[in-house]
């Protein structure tokens, strides 16, 4: 009678668990097929595509100006930076000269968008860990940004603020003063979040040392934005390949050290501060001049293709546009979404942690499914 080895009590032979697609903390329609051994995650396979609207295919049947509307709906939390990325790629393709004032306005819009996106990230990921108050605080400040956008372009979510060659509308009268007022208000409110979270023992235990990824792995996996900088890689498109008016702005890049969830949290908070700094410089230095460059009535760029990336709040947002020189719509419009590449790292981050950490990790890579699925 050989004695067989006692099987584990629950002998949950690798329970497979579906987290999503309707789950409160997956930030949209993302489904994670988790393989669990008891409480520990052994395998994770993200299933995406629920929000795939085929924006790239659609853009081949819209003319260049209409595509700006499509880009609004990709990362619907940061529509202005999507517009900026697309519009700048076409200007590079068409080698158009954008007036300095338009570039300043675009920088202001992009930084406002970064603050708003980080605030929403802060609220939702802290809310997932149970700190509901931070969610409400974050959304309260975000309202101020939405008001500023509404004043400039009339919309609160999908702005359609930019045109190829410049800005459609000039700045409303005392818009600049309101932005400065917002910056001061936001500067005063940041300590509110930090009191609640930064040195809160429970938050530290839930985030320190969770989802650690080294700099080299982050680069290899194609991470970008805060997840990449959280691991100590000082890579920021605004510094490396300055666009819009970032070459005239003085700001520094927030870089983490360990590459865990807590560092990414600190990096994003620091980025909000840097954005406020840029906003102040941009508003003060807003030059006079036209807002719209010399653009032919009918936009038909010459045959050719180009790739241009900008620093969206989620990471490096790249556009690869090919034109065949004959038709009015882009022959091929490819989007390199930051959330898509960051989400790819999730399985590597999650394996080995507990199920409860999956919630924190989905929050820390800050994905928006509109951008992932396009």
């Amino acid at each position: 009678m050989e004695t067989e080895t006692p099987r584990p009590m629950f002998d949950t032979d690798e329970m497979v668990l579906n987290m999503g697609p309707q789950h409160p903390s997956t930030h949209g329609v993302l489904r994670l097929v988790l393989k669990l051994d008891g409480e520990r995650v052994v395998g994770c396979d993200p299933v995406i595509g629920y929000l795939h609207r085929g924006i790239e295919k659609l853009s081949e049947h819209r003319d260049y100006t209409q595509v700006v509307l499509l880009t609004d709906r990709m990362d619907y939390v940061a529509a202005a930076t999507n517009n900026l990325g697309y519009v700048e790629t076409i200007e590079k393709l068409y080698s158009l000269e954008v007036p300095r004032r338009a570039r300043y306005i675009r920088t202001i819009l992009a930084e406002l968008q970064r603050v708003a996106s980080h605030l929403l990230w802060l609220g939702s990921s802290a809310g997932d860990l149970g700190a509901l108050t931070v969610l409400l605080f974050g959304l309260r400040e975000r309202e101020l940004v939405l008001d500023l956008f509404e004043e400039y372009c009339g919309a609160r979510l999908t702005y359609n603020t930019m045109r190829i060659g410049g800005q459609p509308v000039d700045v409303p009268p005392d818009w600049g003063r309101k932005i400065l007022a917002f910056c001061d208000e936001q500067e005063r409110k940041l300590p509110d979040y930090e009191d609640l979270l930064t040195n809160n023992r429970i938050f530290l235990q839930r985030t320190k040392g969770i989802g650690v990824i080294s700099g080299a792995d982050a680069i290899a996996l194609g991470l970008s934005g805060p997840p990449l900088r959280g691991s100590g890689v000082a890579r920021d498109v605004r510094k490396d390949e300055p666009y819009a008016a970032y070459d005239e702005m003085d700001f520094d890049i927030a870089v983490g050290t360990e590459g865990d969830t807590y560092d990414r949290y600190l990096v994003r908070l620091e980025e909000i501060r840097q954005s406020l700094r840029i906003l102040r410089q941009a508003v003060d230095g807003l030059p006079e001049g036209p807002v719209m460059g010399k653009v032919p009535r009918l936009i038909k760029p010459p045959a050719g293709e180009t790739f241009h990336a900008i620093e969206a709040p989620k990471g490096e947002l790249g556009f690869f546009v090919a034109s065949d020189g004959k038709s009015v719509s882009p022959y091929r419009m490819r989007v390199r979404p930051a959330s898509f590449c960051n989400l790819q790292a999730l399985p590597r981050l999650v394996v080995g942690h507990l199920v409860a950490d999956v919630v924190a990790l989905v929050g820390t890579i800050d994905i928006v499914l509109g951008e992932v699925d396009r």
Binding site: I48, G54, H61, G222, T306, K326, R336, Q344
Partner: protein, 231 residues
């Protein structure tokens, strides 16, 4: 999109056109006789111009290093609006990629993007485009591989794990298979989807309600619809 004659571009004023683009709804061109050329110009096959670099342009160190390091790996070098592009044959892609990643002159450790462009009508139909970036030397390079429909491309997922999902998306959307890819399956479309949506000969409206076994079926269905005068 093999939808036959596209109306002359002048007709679309800058004002937004009617809700649907003026292109006729149902695919008109007869599929079997080879797709009609979308471009009016019959002579030059469709494809990116890839202009020759002007003689005085300073060829970046990485391109010259690649040309000297792997003789014959580089078919064509071009530069346009400041982007350097290198065209590499499919067979030599992995060697070139390893060279570009590891050599001191290049150190392209960051695969920013991997995508494909469908130049319908050209015999080597697909352009697989790799946008590389070096976080150390802060410069960019685009590597292109021209492949025909059905011809596999060696996967670079081994060199840059970032390529894993990017290649899966290209496979899902264009049907280009990547040999050596750890887990090549559809990523955005449902697993049992027929056809590859972002090909130029795939209608914008999709295959309609009936998921055809064979992608060509909807062409016939579309034609049948047109003949019966629906719409």
């Amino acid at each position: 999109m093999s939808e036959g004659e596209k109306p002359a571009p002048e007709q679309i004023p800058t004002a937004p056109p009617a809700a649907k683009p003026a292109a006729p709804s149902g695919p008109k061109g007869e599929a079997k006789a080879g797709p009609a050329k979308t471009e009016a110009k019959p002579a030059a096959p469709p494809g990116p111009p890839d202009p020759e670099p002007p003689p005085d342009a300073a060829v970046p160190a990485c391109v010259t290093a690649l040309q000297s390091g792997l003789p014959g790996a580089v078919e064509h070098v071009s530069v346009w609006v400041g982007d350097w592009t290198v065209v590499v044959p499919a067979g030599r892609l992995v060697d070139a990629a390893t060279f570009l990643r590891d050599q001191a002159a290049c150190r392209f450790d960051y695969l920013s993007d991997l995508t494909a462009v469908d130049w319908l009508g050209r015999d080597a139909r697909f352009d697989v485009v790799l946008c590389l970036y070096s976080t150390a030397l802060r410069h960019r390079l685009r590597v292109k591989v021209r492949v025909a429909d059905g011809e596999p491309v060696p996967s670079v997922a081994g060199l840059w794990p970032a390529a894993n999902w990017l290649e899966r998306e290209v496979f899902d959307m264009f049907g280009i298979t990547f040999t050596g890819h750890p887990d090549l399956r559809r990523i955005l479309m449902p697993p049992d989807w027929q056809g590859h949506p972002q090909r130029k000969d795939y209608p914008l409206e999709g295959p309609g309600e009936l998921l055809m076994e064979n992608p060509q079926d909807w062409l016939k269905a579309g034609q049948a619809a047109v003949e019966s005068g629906i719409e």
